[in-house]
């Protein structure tokens, strides 16, 4: 479904991604783990067209998307929930969700999806007319994921959904991610610092260090790998 072939991405003169290649198949949950500053967020931004790669190729459903604008990429069904959630602070919860469906024209299905979201997260229904900026961190994360779901993505990119949340909320969020993957067959690409939880949820994982992919294997194998244990699982 998504293929990165030797992409190199720069911020000015600084190279953030070096020859990154990876592949995500339809229906999978794939995770990318690594330390702070390894290039995980940049990988997602390169896929979404916010920081386009200087060289290499990004293929989504067989089509090169590395030269496309981000709105074109979204319209193809590739959506991202960025790190730090980026809720529109002065739009209401409902308006934030409407923005998720910005490129969709099928009004009837949009309101159906809105009801699905409110079933999935009843708290968002309670707060539907409240400005997004007044929600708690966990509620904002739920809203951010829901906003992306409103686009009916084929591939969902999630950047650090556990960041700054209480353990019980994190578990809830991960349950939802697995549920979304199972119920609607949405492919998930999950970037996480919480390697333990991410690898448990994922089919396969990639490990990133200093802008390079250094290891890839199934989630289980990576969990029991000695190097991964030492570096990312604190064991």
């Amino acid at each position: 479904m998504l293929k990165l072939k030797n992409i190199n991405t720069y911020y000015g003169n600084i190279q953030a991604l070096k020859d990154v290649s990876l592949e995500i198949k339809e229906g999978e949950i794939i995770t990318l783990i690594g330390a702070n500053g390894a290039g995980k967020t940049t990988t997602l931004m390169s896929i979404s067209g916010i920081v386009p790669p200087k060289s290499g190729e990004v293929l989504f459903m067989g089509k090169p998307i590395n030269d496309m604008t981000s709105e074109k990429i979204v319209s193809m069904g590739l959506c991202q929930v960025p790190e730090g959630r980026h809720i529109f602070p002065h739009l209401t919860v409902t308006e934030n969700l409407d923005m998720g469906a910005f490129l969709r024209k099928d009004k009837a299905n949009i309101s159906k999806d809105l009801n699905y979201i409110f079933d999935l997260f009843p708290i968002l229904n309670e707060r539907r007319n409240q400005p997004g900026g007044t929600l708690s961190g966990g509620e904002q994360q739920m809203l951010a994921i829901s906003r992306a779901l409103m686009a009916r993505p084929k591939l969902l990119l999630l950047d650090e959904p556990s960041l700054g949340l209480a353990p019980i909320i994190i578990r809830q969020i991960f349950e939802i991610i697995k549920k979304i993957n199972k119920d609607s067959g949405t492919t998930v690409f999950l970037v996480e610092q919480n390697a333990n939880l991410a690898l448990k949820a994922a089919d396969r994982g990639y490990v990133m260090e200093n802008g390079r992919i250094t290891m890839t294997d199934t989630g289980e194998n990576l969990l029991s790998n000695e190097d991964v244990k030492n570096a990312y699982l604190g064991m």
Partner: protein, 305 residues
């Protein structure tokens, strides 16, 4: 005596409201552009001036052909809106878009350059003298008895401004485009990630702001009766003051700022001295900047470190 005082007060109130409505129309352009891309479009006053000139040219031609007054008003305003919008759109593409990643000072200098360029362009193409602008607004017979308090032109200016501002508020609040504008103003990267074409939203913002300025230009030219290439500068400065006064980036703030400024000038000149009109306006600006720098309705933005 008592009666005279109330009448005088009402007269000042309404003339302040008239002026304030025009300030508000122009201030909206400043504030919307600032809300989206955080630059002050100093060429905005020139857009207003170009709107007035376009209306003058169109109305002169149509008058020659003997068109009825109401048709002239509509056609001249319509052409002014289209012309000014085209200028606004083009200014953004030439002067600001290439500088989007540049330090904040660069688009500011570019804006001032654009403003000087447009003034001199109109000076060369037209003349430096004031040109007579025949009012496009017909006299209402039924308003004659109240002539001392409010004229037709003032009434029309107040009504049209109110309609335009209400329409703008509804667009921004309820339409898809309006939501996209607000989303872009609040978080540009996230707007791109939900599929908003930020370039289109920026262009659209310039077009709307310019259209409002053009309407303001036609109305004020009708009211004052003469225009020259320099009218955009002082009107732009006043409208900018109004936008800052109300809280730059805030749409209701621009309207409120315009009205407060209009009333300050009108009551100041009416009760103190007519020599100090600009002094009242800019003293108010200085006071606001000292005591409430974010403006009346502005949100204080904390600097990210």
């Amino acid at each position: 005596m008592e009666h005279e005082n109330i009448k005088y007060f009402l007269e000042l109130f309404l003339s302040g409201l008239t002026k304030g409505s025009i300030y508000a129309l122009i201030a909206l352009g400043y504030t919307m552009v600032y809300g989206i891309i955080e630059i002050i479009n100093f060429a905005h006053g020139e857009i207003y001036m170009i709107g007035a000139f376009t209306a003058l040219i169109v109305s002169s031609v149509l008058t020659m052909f003997g068109f009825p007054m109401i048709a002239i008003l509509i056609l001249a305003t319509g052409t002014a809106i289209i012309y000014s919008s085209a200028y606004g759109y083009t200014i953004e593409k030439i002067a600001y878009k290439p500088l989007r990643q540049a330090p904040r000072l660069s688009p500011l200098i570019s804006a001032i350059g654009m403003s000087i360029f447009l003034q001199n362009y109109v000076l060369l193409a037209q003349t430096e003298n004031f040109m007579k602008f025949n009012s496009l607004i017909p006299e209402f017979e039924w308003l004659k008895p109240y002539k001392e308090i409010i004229g037709t032109e003032e009434l029309i200016i107040i009504i049209i401004s109110a309609i335009v501002m209400i329409a703008l508020t509804l667009i921004v609040k309820y339409t898809r485009l309006g939501k996209a504008m607000r989303a872009t103003a609040q978080d540009r990267m996230m707007a791109r990630l939900v599929g908003v074409s930020v370039n289109k939203i920026i262009s659209f913002t310039f077009i709307i702001g310019s259209a409002l300025a053009a309407i303001g230009g036609v109305l004020i030219a009708s009211y004052i009766g003469q225009i020259n290439y320099y009218i955009g500068f002082i009107a732009g400065l006043k409208a900018f003051t109004a936008a800052v006064l109300g809280g730059i980036g805030s749409i209701p703030g621009a309207v409120l700022g315009g009205l407060v400024l209009g009333w300050t000038e009108s009551f100041g000149t009416g009760y103190i001295s007519s020599d100090y009109e600009d002094v009242f306006a800019f003293s108010l600006l200085v006071l606001i900047l000292i005591f409430r720098p974010e403006g009346i309705l502005g949100r204080s933005t904390s600097q990210k470190v």
